[in-house]
């Protein structure tokens, strides 16, 4: 079981030690830097090539290939995918699904973890293991029964179906992490709350929640990004164009044989722009989250 702390650990040991040795750079240090930068460029290569070709005309691509800068940069490809896929609607669909899952998933994680980590409900370790099944299970093992159930209750082919499923799947990870955090929640603070006469519900809302807010906000960002990125279940459950998400819109394009290379590049670039924006906005949170997920 992972024990995580409420506060994510501070980055780096002592800054002084680093500064002292900073100025003595051997040729080996430079060599290491060069190798890492070459590696990073290899990682970046597909995205750079993609960006170069997203603004190209197909004539230019056919004449000069994918490795040159565009002759006459054009926004045509981007604009055409924006229109043909109804990109704003796909964006709203992805956004609403991810946001609601993040809110509900965090809520369930907190309630579960309060009972398991602080309440220490009997058999809590087994219950956590059972909940983790949701995360371990390959999604296709749930697909057909859920498909049948959702058709019956009439939420198949709606965003609600995706929201319900991913709220449960994401909260499994959240419960796993947060119940470990609550297992090490400062005892003195809990005792103080009891002495002040707070009920369990008040203790949760006014004491536990505010203090564990850093971990909770990290979970929120994770749930949002993970749900945004989901593919298999949305593909199986969202049939109509007007309920689909961005990854579905892009992958639908790939199946068409008439699509040319530059159109696909433009569409791919447009599809990753929201991700790049999250990346920049949430970078600090993501780093903390990754730390919170792994520390002992």
């Amino acid at each position: 079981m992972t024990d995580a702390t409420v506060q994510t650990p501070s980055q780096g040991a002592s800054g002084k030690v680093r500064n002292q040795s900073k100025h003595i750079r051997t040729w080996g240090d430079w060599l290491a830097l060069v190798f890492l930068i070459i590696g990073a460029l290899v990682m970046l290569f597909p995205l750079l090539i993609l960006a170069m070709n997203a603004f190209k005309t197909i004539g230019d691509y056919n004449a000069n290939g994918p490795l040159t800068l565009p002759d006459h940069p054009t926004m045509e490809g981007i604009a055409s995918f924006w229109k043909s896929s109804n990109f704003p609607l796909k964006f709203v669909n992805s956004f609403v699904i991810a946001l609601v899952v993040a809110i509900l998933g965090v809520t369930l994680s907190v309630l579960n973890s309060f009972a398991l980590g602080i309440g220490r409900v009997k058999g809590n370790r087994w219950i956590i293991l059972l909940i983790m099944l949701a995360n371990m299970m390959p999604q296709e093992a749930l697909l057909y029964p859920l498909y049948t159930m959702f058709k019956q209750v009439g939420i198949y082919n709606s965003q609600l179906s995706i929201i319900v499923i991913f709220t449960v799947i994401q909260s499994a990870y959240g419960t796993y992490l947060l119940s470990a955090v609550y297992g090490t929640f400062p005892q003195a603070i809990l005792e103080a709350a009891t002495i002040d006469g707070a009920s369990r519900w008040e203790t949760l809302l006014k004491v536990v929640l505010p203090i564990s807010w850093p971990t909770i906000s990290v979970l929120f960002v994770f749930f949002f990004v993970w749900t945004w990125n989901e593919y298999m279940i949305p593909m199986a459950f969202l049939m109509d164009d007007n309920v689909q998400t961005i990854p579905l819109a892009l992958s639908a394009l790939q199946g068409q044989h008439t699509i040319d290379a530059t159109q696909l590049a433009s569409a791919s670039l447009l599809s990753i722009i929201p991700t790049i924006i999250f990346f920049i906005v949430f970078q600090r949170k993501l780093n903390q989250g990754i730390v919170a997920g792994a520390v002992k």
Binding site: P46, N112, I131, P138, N229, L253, N287, V295
Partner: protein, 312 residues
Amino acid sequence: MSQQVVTKKPALSRLPGSRPSKFLPYLIPGLVALLVIVIVPFGWNIYLSLTRWRGVGPVKFVGFANWQRLMADATFWKSFLNSFWIIVAIVVIPTALGLLISSVLTDVIQKKFGSGNASFIRALYYLPQLLPVAVASVIMGWIFRPDDGAVNDLLEKIGLGSLQHNWLGDADSALPILMVILIWIQLGYPIVIFMSGLQRVDPELYEAASLDGANWWQKFRVVTLPSIVPELLVVILTATIGALKTFGPVYLLTKGGPGTTTIVPSYYSYNQFFQLHQVGYGAAISTALTLVIIVFSVIFTIIQGRVEKNAA
């Protein structure tokens, strides 16, 4: 730490004066949701694996017929053999490279060139991890396009045109190229997790090792590696589960082909469910995969517990 307290005083909650059973209401929403969305469907799926059903019409109970067929199905075994290669691409290679890159980033770049530069380089490696896997797959499929893709064009431009290939379409290259794509997607994950673990290592340990005349490799083995065993285990566990569940890249890039060269269990069962409408057989494949994942996770968690006990 918390585990010891749990086993010593099982009857008490951490909130003085509240018995553990008083917390049960807080578990109800979560457990009801789990029951409806995971446990009932999984039980149902196991039942479906004992039936023959086309998705519509009557469900026919056939006992273990699907399971018997599964055991003799070469494609099924092939899909698990391919899972082995997927694990190499998602667990083995990124973990090994991740150890190397994260320790150089922490040891050299962060110390000699500042933590800003180290974070920036780390971010570049992490970027593919953040893309939706469907989008990452489409992009890499585009890079490896057979006629006019960037890789083939690059080969021609540098005079190696004879090496041009239908990378994802030819039986000899489809699996290796799929593996390359998975490595590209995965590499950032171990790097970021290992780097966060390495921040805990006391710099004095490195200095002491240096004073003893240890070279880089010796420091890596004696100081770096033992320090991040917990992170190493978390990465291996989560990445292996992820590798066994691989679906998106196979579905979008190769559809398991050519032939069955890149077929994986998830795609095989999806194919049975939604393309061939062999619901019972698809359910058997997905149940088998779930069992493999559960058995692996349990064994791994036991090993993890032992390793941590030895370390303590």
